[in-house]
């Protein structure tokens, strides 16, 4: 089976600084792939290259819809990439703060909706049905992440952990086959992290989505990942199953903290 996301020797330069150096990675369908590495290693830059916020200096980013066509997405606009079926969350939460929880998710449905200006004004049966479908679908997603209590609450009033989950629901609303999560557990307490772990697994298993995530919480990463890539200074230094990675001396040295020559 083809990988849903494939990076071939992607490089990204900022001025003279090489933030990504020939990074190649693959995300297989219905897999959870984690990207770990010290702060500043280039993980978020990689996300930005994949989602169209940056245009990589060289290399290919290929997006292969399951059972569909394969597209090279370098240099496409972020909204185009989302339309093709990839959604993301952000390291620092970027919700639409003054909109309600449900509306946040409904915005996510935007690119799968068709109502035109005229349709929105006249609100014929088609537009009405679509609107209804979207409300229901959004509600469904909120149930998935456990936020139905707060449907009509202004999103900035939610607790931190709930905002993170809302971001995931919003990303899911774009009906992606690949979800990119940028440090979803940051700032969560162990209980919340456990819930999140379960949620991510559920997204993979029941919704059969592929997930690429950046995370520092090792218990989360080691617990759920099918495959882990480790980055340092913009380069991949290791890849493999959680077990392989956690035993890899280079990884331990660079990231996990066991200083070998100490």
């Amino acid at each position: 089976m083809a990988a849903v996301l494939e990076l071939n020797k992607v490089c990204m330069d900022f001025g003279g600084l090489r933030a990504l150096d020939e990074v190649s990675l693959r995300v297989e369908p219905s897999q959870i792939v984690a990207l770990i590495g010290p702060n500043g290693a280039g993980k978020t830059t990689l996300f930005n290259c994949v989602t169209g916020i940056y245009d990589p200096t060289s290399g290919d980013v290929l997006l292969n819809a399951p059972g569909g066509e394969s597209r090279r997405v370098n240099g496409l606009k972020p909204n185009k990439v989302t339309e093709l079926g990839m959604a993301r969350t952000f390291q620092n939460i970027r919700l639409f703060p003054s909109m309600t929880v449900l509306e946040n998710v409904m915005v996510g449905c935007h690119c799968r909706m068709h109502a035109s200006i005229l349709g929105a004004v006249v609100k014929g049966p088609g537009a009405r049905a679509e609107e209804r479908r979207v409300v229901d679908f959004s509600y469904e997603l909120l149930r998935l992440v456990g936020l139905t209590r707060w449907v009509n609450e202004i999103s900035s009033n939610l607790p931190y952990g709930a905002q993170r989950r809302l971001e995931i629901a919003r990303a899911m609303a774009t009906e992606p086959y690949l979800v990119l999560l940028d440090e979803p557990a940051a700032g969560m307490n162990p209980q919340e992290t456990d819930d999140l772990k379960e949620l991510i697994v559920r997204i993979r298993d029941t919704w059969s989505k592929s997930i690429l995530l950046i995370e520092h919480d090792m218990s989360l990463v080691m617990g759920i990942s099918d495959r882990i890539y480790v980055m340092e200074y913009g380069r991949l230094i290791a890849e493999g199953s959680p077990k392989e990675v956690s035993e890899n001396p280079a990884v331990i040295k660079a990231y996990l903290g066991e200083d070998l020559d100490a």
Binding site: F90, V107, D136
Partner: protein, 405 residues
């Protein structure tokens, strides 16, 4: 004690500050100097007391700070507006009052109300651009001018009537909106503001200087009022007729804006305003969304322009200065960005209040400027902050049991 000392300092500072401009008046031709020390006294005493008020308000603001809108003074209003059982009857009463208004008032009052309603239209139009999509447009009046000149010129050269030009004016407004919107899409918020301001000035200057086509600064007179089945209407009757036309247009506008606001497109606008990057990550085309906002906003300015030309029967470039744009903007801001009711309240305040302050016309703009500043500091969300629609779940009835957390 400390407060008095501080206020004294403030008072001295302001007396110093206003000393040359308020106290001295020179006549450079006759070489005489006029000293007005009374003014200094007023400033000193006034600023002394106002500084207490200022400090009190600042303290209150700091205490209420950190909490976002919705709370505080506006909450009663908010609740009234949120509650349908209260809101609908009030709206009905207001609408009835507005409907019967011309029957009980003289031509002057009707005219003031026509202006108010025109500003409501303009405010609602600009509200799409600024309040919903978050694009600060300081040249909105340009589209208003396009509408007005469209009617005046098309009527003069081709004899087209009001009802023919009304949709054309809207269309022309939209076209100009897209024409302006297209090149400036890449600009950031405040750059956009300045370019739109420049655009507004360009339009006005062209109108002023392209004498052969627009009759220059002297403007175009004798623009016909809208006809009613060929009947000859007295000036007063014509005013009433226009009043109802505008009233109808306002209703249409409210309907359209309301529908748009809670639609796919309205949500995209809001999302764009709140966070551009997240908005794009949701698959929303930034350029398209901005353009629709521009186009729709300027359509309404075009409509309003046509009606304005028909109402005053005389237009010239001086009707379309930057001040007019600022006025419309402040209606949106004062009312509360994004809120329809807010715009109506804002228009009433901006148009009717100064009219009732006719005895102090010279202070009108002074106060107006001060109010803009004070509003931004003490009530940035406007009179009425946006209320978001609450949705109900229509799906299967298997309501989830208690959620986690």
């Amino acid at each position: 004690m400390l407060g008095i000392k501080r206020s004294l300092l403030v008072s001295i500072w302001f007396m110093f500050l206003t000393f040359p401009l308020l106290v001295i008046r020179v006549n450079t031709v006759e070489n005489t100097v006029d000293w007005r020390f009374m003014n200094m006294l007023y400033v000193g005493v006034g600023s002394f007391f106002l500084s207490f008020v200022w400090r009190y308000l600042m303290e209150r603001r700091a205490r209420g700070g950190g909490r976002s809108g919705g709370q505080g003074a506006g909450s009663v209003m908010q609740r009234v507006l949120g509650e349908k059982r209260i809101f609908y009857p009030i709206a009905a009463v207001v609408a009835l009052a507005a409907l019967s208004f011309p029957l009980f008032s003289d031509a002057y009052q009707t005219n003031v109300m026509i202006s108010t309603l025109l500003y409501v239209m303009l405010g609602l139009g600009l509200n799409i651009v600024v309040g919903l999509a978050g694009l600060l447009d300081l040249g909105y009046v340009a589209f208003y001018a396009v509408g007005a000149y469209a009617y005046a010129l098309l009527n003069q050269h081709f004899g087209l009537g009001f009802w023919t030009v009304l949709p054309l004016g809207g269309l022309l407004g939209a076209v100009c909106g897209v024409l302006l919107g297209f090149p400036v899409l890449r600009l950031r918020g405040d750059y956009l503001a300045i370019v739109t301001l420049g655009f507004g000035e360009i339009i006005r200057l062209v109108l002023e200087n392209w004498g052969d086509f627009t009759h220059g600064p002297s403007g175009i007179a004798n623009i016909p009022r809208p006809g009613l089945f060929g009947m000859d209407l007295s000036i007063h009757d014509a005013a009433i007729y226009i009043y109802y036309i505008v009233f109808g247009m306002v209703l249409v506008t409210i309907f359209v804006v309301n529908r748009l606001k809670n639609s796919r497109i309205g949500r995209a606008w809001l999302a764009l305003k709140e966070d551009e990057i997240a908005c794009q990550a949701m698959g929303i085309d930034k350029a398209k969304t901005k353009l629709t906002a521009f186009a729709l906003g300027s359509t309404w300015a075009g409509f309003a322009g046509v009606i304005f030309a028909a109402k005053t029967t005389f237009i010239n470039p001086a009707c379309f200065t930057f001040l007019e744009s600022a006025l419309i903007l402040s209606i949106v801001v004062l009312g509360g960005m994004g809120s329809i009711t807010g715009v109506i309240v804002g228009a009433l305040v901006i148009v009717v209040l100064p009219e009732s302050l006719r005895d102090f016309p010279q202070f009108r703009m002074l106060l107006f400027g001060a109010i803009l500043v004070l509003m931004m500091i003490f009530r940035p969300q406007g009179f009425i902050s946006t209320e978001r629609k609450k949705y109900e779940y229509h799906g299967a009835a298997d309501e989830t049991p208690a959620e986690g957390e």
